[in-house]
Amino acid sequence: MMLYLWLLVLATPLTVAFMIPFGGAIRRRAIDLMPFAAIPALIMALPREQTAIEVADWLLLGSSFGVDQTSQIFLLLTATLWTVAGFYARYYHADDVEIHRFAFFFLLTMTGNLGLIVAMDIVTFYASFALMTFSAYGLVVHTRSAKALRAGKVYIVMAVIGEGFLLTGMFMAAYSAGSTQAEFIREGILDSQRSNLIIGCLLAGFGIKAGAIPLHVWLPLAHPVAPTAASAVLSGAMIKAGLLGWITFLPIGEAALPGWGTLLVVISLIAAFSGVLIGLTQDDPKTLLAYSSISQMGFIATVVAVGLAEPRAWGVAAIGCALYALHHGLIKGALFLGVGVAHETGNDRNRQRLVLIGLTVVAIALAGAPLTTGAMAKTALKEGVYIGPEGWSVWLDWLLPVAAIGTTVLMGRFIWLIWRHELGHVEHGQYRGMMIPWIILVGLAFPIVWLAPVWFQLDVSPAVAFEPGNLWTSTWPVLIGGAILGVIWWQIARTPREITPIRIPAGDVLIPLEWALARIRPPEPDEVVPRPPDPVAALSASWYGLFAESQQGSRTSRLAGWFVRWDVAGLLFLTIGMVLILFMLWR
């Protein structure tokens, strides 16, 4: 029916991207088209009926494309976010002489991000993943500030390490499966005699992108330094690529892997909490948001862990996962874009007010206040947890709300930072151009998340969130968080002082690591390292030396002179003759 829609999804941003190098009018047209490049993906994300898998047996190692229920939600999120970010970027970079460079990488990254969602086989997935990863580097270092370059370096190193893990896992998984199709891969992993190794590799490989602790170190560096539009897609959409990778290729829901589940749940909970705690010490709202993303991804990963440990739970958990991803992606996108808009308000009170209100709304949603998307997503998430392994729900039941308290406090600090430090500038003078996409995103986030379960006929209904029990569950953490905020507010109002006395630099555990590495690694040599001697080259050189020396007439061969002497030659003649005769006679 929708023949080659996937091709359109991929080709559109690619084509636009490759219009840019032509320069001139074509380039300007391409930049105008940038926001629309994700439209085909949006179209593909919308139908209720998933299209059949389409096979492109000429592409790569034989690709197949399509979306299932889960990936359709991811596609919806991704396409929406990229479109909005595209419009936003168009104005954010209006005065940027290098907008074309941004647009180029933006579009390529978009292609990769969309491609990995519509890919149904691991090779195409990996190819798109790589395209996204490497193109995003261009977004991270776009400003070329020292900070950006450092972040870029950490980003690319981690990305390459991640690719290494993925490649290792993929080889083994695909070998065991005898196919590259996702469904067979999942089975293949279980069948493999090295299934633990594969799972470990895939967890780590995708975990780097998903910001799983301790592989998250690049994230708080890279997300904030990128231009705001890029930050939004990095933290909103691309971070989900790792998650999607887990969901698509790990044998979640097919076999109980309690060991891995436990490991992942511990990691995720650490992420959920440490993300909040470290986030609280940040002064830069974007870094704060990045840490919040780590924390939020921890939430989602918890459910993945549940699915790993308890296959029965996955049917429900997967939906929660997808919904939460949708929620977090849109909301985090809106938060990031909002930071950018805040920088454009100038002294206009109305503008400032609008930004603050908008940001507060989404911040509250992120915190999971009742009636928000967060509340619904969290409810859906917890559905899975309840079916989870024996004993887990008890712990998770109170740990997750505690984390939610943290998120509330974190969002409070975010709003405070915006209010106190970020308003009042005019950076690009494109308030309107940036504000409108942002406000649209804020406005759309709620209905999209609310309607998605209905539209896609998921096993969860938005109404669940309005059940009294659930209402309360989502309310009390926010209330406690609000109370904490209130106390702090009161403290500050009484005696103005620094509330967070410690500062954990962005990148946290990376800092000692970098320090240690700098000690271990010798400084980059300026001169070429001395090579070990090459015997063959030495031989050829000494042979040439023999030649060159003789050519100057400085050395004559005594041996040669000796042989030409008559007496010597005669004696040799005599000797050889005698010996020959003797040998002849001596039989």
Partner: protein, 104 residues
């Protein structure tokens, strides 16, 4: 048989003496003469063989033929060598073959 042996040994001795001459003497003329004498040693041996190989009292003619031819060759070769030696003398003023000269 012993007479043939004596002749044969004489030829061998002559050959050896000439060889010694060629090796040790530096004067060109002496070398040429030694070579010439060397040829004679072989001729002596050939004649001896001819005598030894008598058929019906007639000496074997083949060695005789060889000696005759050999003499012709030796004469021409000696003549050529002498001419060359003269030219050598004319160009260098030497009559002896110095080893330095050969090491060009």
């Amino acid at each position: 048989m012993s007479e043939f042996l004596i002749y044969g040994l004489a030829a061998a001795a002559l050959f050896a003496i000439c060889l010694h001459g060629i090796i040790t003497r530096t004067h060109i003329l002496r070398k040429i003469l030694a070579l010439n004498m060397m040829g004679s040693a072989v001729f002596l041996l050939l004649i001896t063989i001819a005598e030894r190989n008598q058929v019906d009292g007639v000496a074997d003619p083949v060695p005789h033929a060889m000696v005759l031819t050999g003499i012709v060759v030796a004469v021409s070769a000696t003549a050529f060598a002498l001419a060359l030696a003269r030219r050598y003398h004319a160009q260098t003023g030497h009559t002896e073959l110095h080893d330095e000269d050969g090491s060009t």
